[in-house]
Point group: C2
Chain length 479, copies 2
C-alpha cells in the first residue's frame, strides 16, 4: 500500500501528453512566441497564422460597451447589481443569459429555427462542452466517429479524462473532403472489427479546418446513419456566424425541424456552441451544450458546475446579446469583413499560384501546397512546414496535425490580424514562391541551398490550443 | 453494437445523482426557493441560512470599483484593453492575475509565507480545483481519507467523474471534532482491510462546517502521517481569510516552511484555494490549485483548459488585488464584521440555551441541538430539521448531510444576510424554543401538538451546492 505514487503520477500525465505531444499544431506556437511579429518593433518576426481568432469586429463591441455602461457591474451605472451578481452561483446561469444565448443561437442560424432556453447548458468554452458531452454519452473505451481532417484539440477534450476514443472517418480531397455515407459505414465497420463500441458521430459544421459548410444532403445522410445505428450525433457549430457567403449555414436544428421525412430520435442529437469564434471572445470561456435529450440536459447541467461561466461575464453578455439591433449590425458587419479578408487573402495567394479549398466560413483557409512537396508524404509536409515557419516566418498549421489523410494541406488563419499584417504575410509568401521559381526550377529549400535548419526537437509543449508561454496581452500591446 | 444507449445514459446519470441524492443539504434549498424571506414583501418566508456566502463586505468592493474604472475593460477608461483581453486564451492565465493571486494568498496567510506565481493554476472554482487534483493524483477506485464532518459537495466534486472514493476519518464532539493520529490510522487501516488503495488525505482548514482552524500540532501530525504512508495531502484552505479571531490561521504552507524538523516530501502537498468565500465572489468561479509538485502543476495546468477563469474577470481581479491598501483594508474590515456577526448570532442563541461549537472562522456556526432531539438518532435529527425549515422557517443544514458521526448538529450560515434578517432569524429561534418550554416540558413538536407535516418526498434535487431553481438575482433584488 505504501508506495511512491510519483512515478504513477508522471506516467498518468504522460498519457495525457501523448494525445498531442508531437503535434506541430502546437509546436509552431513556440516559434511565434519566441519571435512575434510586430509592424514596427519586430517587423521580421514570425506572423501568427495558427490562431483561429476573430479580431475583425472588436471595434464594434468596444463602441457598444462605451455606449452601454449599465451593461457592466463595474461602472457607476451598473455597480448596484455587483453584490447580487458576484454572489450568484446557480448552475442554471442567469436566466437573462440563457434566454439571450438561445435567441442568439437562433439568430446565427438565420432565425430559421428556435432554441429553448431551458436546454441551454453552460460550460467552460467549447473545450469544456465537448468533454461534458463525452462524459454524458460514453464510457471509457467507447468511441465517436469523426470526419478527418478535424480540430486537434478534440484529441485532448474528448479523450483525455473520459477515456473515450476517436475513430477517423476518411474524407478525401478528390471529393472536397465531403463526408459520405460510404465513409461513415467504413469507419463504423472498422470500429466494429476492432471491437470498439461506437457511441456516436461528431461533426464540425462549419468545418474547422476546412472552412466549408455541410449541405443539406450530407446532414440528412448523417442523420439517417446515426438513427439506423442508434448512436448519438454531436454537432460542433461554434463557427455558425462566421459563414460569410453562399451557401448559407444549415444547422442540424433546421434539419430536425424541417426535414420531417427523415425518421429521427431527437434524443440522439446534441449541439456544441460557443461565443469564442462568432463573437471573438475566447478569453471569456463561454461554451454551450444544447441537447434535445432531457437526460443529457439534466446530466450536463450538473456537470457544468466544473466549468461555469463567470457571472461577471454572463451579465455583460446577457445585456449585449439582448440588444437585437447591435447583434444584427455586428453579424452583418462581421460577415462582410470576413468575406473581404478571405477575398484579399485568397486572391493574393492565387497570384503566385497557390490555391485554397473553396470555402465560405471560418477564420482560416485550407491552403493547398501539394505542388511544393518534395514527395507526397507527411515527412515532406513537415519539411515544408519547417521552412514556412523558420524561413518564411509564418506560423501555419500542417494538415497532419488535423489528421488529414493527404499530405500538403495547411490551415492558415487570417482573422486574427490587421490588414497590414495580412499584406506582410502575403508579401513573404510571394517572395518565397517567386524566389524559388527564379533560382531554381526546384524550390530552393528543396535543393538545400539556403537552409541550415537545426534539427528542432519536437518538444512536448502543451495539450492545449492555448498559447504555451505565459505572456501578458497587455505587455504585448505596448511592446 | 446497435443498442439503445438511452437506458445506459440514464443509469450513468443516476450514479452521479446517487452521490448526494437524499441530502437535506440540498433539499432545504427548495423550501427556501419556493418561499424566500423578504423583509417587506415576504416577511414570513424561509430565511436562507444554508448558504455559505460572504456578503458582509460587498460595499467595500463596490466603492473600490467605482473609484477604479480603469480596472474594468467595460469602461471608457479600460476599454482600450478589451480586444486583447477578450482574445487572451493562454491557460497560464494573465501573468498579472497569477502574480496578484500568489501575493493575495500570502497576505491571507498573514504574510508569513510566500507563494510562487508559477505554481498558481486556475480552475473553475474550488469545485473544479478539487476535481482536477483528484484526476491528477488518483485512478478510479483509489481513495482519499477525509475527516468528518465534511462539505457535502466533495461527494460530487471528487468522486463523480473521477471514480475516486472518500473514506471517512472519524472525529468526535467529545474532542471538539479534532483530527487525531489515532483516527487517521484507523481510517487508513479500514481502507486497507477493504482493499482500497489510499492516495491521500484531504483536510479543510479552516473547517467547513465547523468554522474551526487546525492547530500546529494537528497539522504536524497530518504531515508526519502522510509522509510515513507516502500518500498525498490536499489542503482545502478556501476559508483562509474568514478567520476573525485568535488563534490565527496556520496554512500548511507555513508548516512546510517553518517546521523543518518534520521530514516532508513537498511533492506530496497540494493546496486548493478560491476567491468565493474570502472575497465573496462565488459567481466569478475563481478556483486555484497550488501544488508543490511540478508534475501536478504541469498536469493541472493542462486540465485547467476545462475550467479557465474568464479573462474579463481575471483582468478586474488582477487590478483589484494588486491594490495592497485596499486588500489590507478589506481583510481587516471583513474579519471585524465577521467577528461582530458571530458574536451577535451566538450570543442570541446562547440567550435561549443554544450552544455552538467554539469557532473563529468561516461564514457559519456549528449549532448544537442535541438536547432538542427526541432520540440521539439521525431520524430524530431529520425530524427536527423538518420542523426548523417548515415551522421555524429557517433553512439550516443538518449534520448528517456533512457525514457527521453524531446526531443533533446543524450548520447555520450567518454572513449571507443583513443585520435585520439575522434579528428575524434569532427571534424565530427564540420563539420556537420558548414556546416549547412554556407549552410543554417536552418540545411541542415532539408531542405532535402542532405539526401536520406531510411526509415530504426527498426529491433528488441536485448534485450541486448551487441553487436548484433558475432565478435571477436581479428579479430577487427588486421583488
Amino acid at each position: 500500500m505504501a508506495v511512491d505514487h510519483q512515478t504513477q503520477l508522471l506516467s498518468k500525465i504522460a498519457i495525457g501528453d501523448g494525445h498531442a505531444e508531437a503535434s506541430p499544431y502546437f509546436d509552431g506556437w513556440k516559434a511565434y512566441d519566441e519571435d512575434p511579429f510586430h509592424p514596427t518593433n519586430n517587423p521580421n518576426g514570425v506572423i501568427q497564422m495558427g490562431l483561429a481568432e476573430n479580431q475583425l469586429t472588436s471595434d464594434l463591441v468596444e463602441d457598444w460597451i462605451v455606449s452601454n455602461p449599465e451593461a457592466s457591474i463595474c461602472t457607476p451605472e451598473g455597480v448596484a447589481d455587483f453584490k447580487a451578481i458576484a454572489n450568484f452561483q446557480d448552475y442554471h446561469g442567469l436566466p437573462e443569459f440563457r434566454n439571450t444565448v438561445a435567441k442568439f443561437m437562433g439568430r446565427t442560424r438565420g432565425n430559421r429555427v428556435t432554441f429553448d432556453p431551458d436546454r441551454v447548458v453552460m460550460s467552460g468554452g467549447a473545450t469544456g462542452a465537448h468533454e461534458v458531452v463525452a462524459f454524458c454519452l460514453a464510457d471509457p473505451g467507447d468511441a465517436f466517429l469523426v470526419p478527418i481532417p478535424y480540430y486537434p484539440g478534440f484529441d485532448r477534450d474528448l479523450r483525455w479524462r473520459t477515456g473515450v476514443q476517436l475513430v477517423p472517418i476518411k474524407c478525401e480531397s478528390s471529393n472536397n473532403f465531403k463526408l459520405t455515407r460510404q465513409a461513415l459505414e467504413a469507419a463504423y465497420e472498422k470500429a466494429k472489427e476492432d471491437n470498439i463500441r461506437v457511441k456516436g458521430v461528431l461533426i464540425t459544421n462549419p468545418s474547422n479546418p476546412l472552412g466549408t459548410v455541410m449541405d443539406r444532403n450530407t446532414l440528412r445522410t448523417v442523420l439517417s446513419f446515426i438513427n439506423e445505428k442508434r448512436i448519438h450525433l454531436v454537432c460542433d457549430e461554434i463557427y455558425a456566424a462566421t459563414v460569410f457567403s453562399h451557401p448559407s449555414f444549415i444547422s442540424i436544428a433546421e434539419i430536425l425541424e424541417e426535414d420531417t421525412d427523415i425518421e429521427c430520435d431527437h434524443d440522439l442529437i446534441h449541439i456544441v456552441y460557443s461565443l469564442s469564434k462568432d463573437m471573438g471572445f475566447p478569453g471569456f470561456r463561454v461554451g454551450i451544450i444544447y441537447s434535445y435529450n432531457d437526460a443529457v440536459v439534466n446530466c450536463a447541467r450538473k456537470m457544468s458546475s466544473f466549468g461555469l461561466v463567470s457571472t461577471h461575464t454572463q451579465y455583460l453578455l446577457a445585456s449585449m446579446l439582448s440588444d437585437e439591433d447591435f447583434v444584427e449590425r455586428f453579424l452583418q458587419e462581421s460577415a462582410k469583413r470576413l468575406s473581404q479578408r478571405y477575398r484579399v487573402f485568397t486572391s493574393g495567394l492565387a497570384k503566385v499560384g497557390i490555391k485554397c479549398l473553396q470555402s465560405n466560413a471560418g477564420l482560416f483557409v485550407w491552403m493547398d501546397l501539394r505542388h511544393l512537396l518534395k514527395k507526397p508524404t507527411f515527412e515532406s509536409e513537415m519539411e515544408l512546414w519547417r521552412v514556412i515557419i523558420h524561413e518564411v516566418k509564418i506560423n501555419v498549421s500542417p494538415g497532419s496535425s488535423f489528421h488529414c489523410p493527404e499530405a500538403g494541406w495547411f490551415r492558415v488563419c487570417h482573422a486574427n490580424m490587421d490588414d497590414r499584417a495580412v499584406q506582410v504575410a502575403l508579401q513573404r509568401i510571394r517572395n518565397f514562391v517567386l524566389q524559388n521559381k527564379e533560382v531554381n526550377k526546384k524550390p530552393c529549400w528543396q535543393s538545400n541551398l539556403r537552409l541550415s535548419l537545426k534539427a528542432r526537437r519536437f518538444e512536448e509543449i502543451m495539450m492545449s490550443p492555448h498559447s504555451p508561454i505565459p505572456r501578458s496581452p497587455l505587455v504585448k500591446a505596448t511592446n
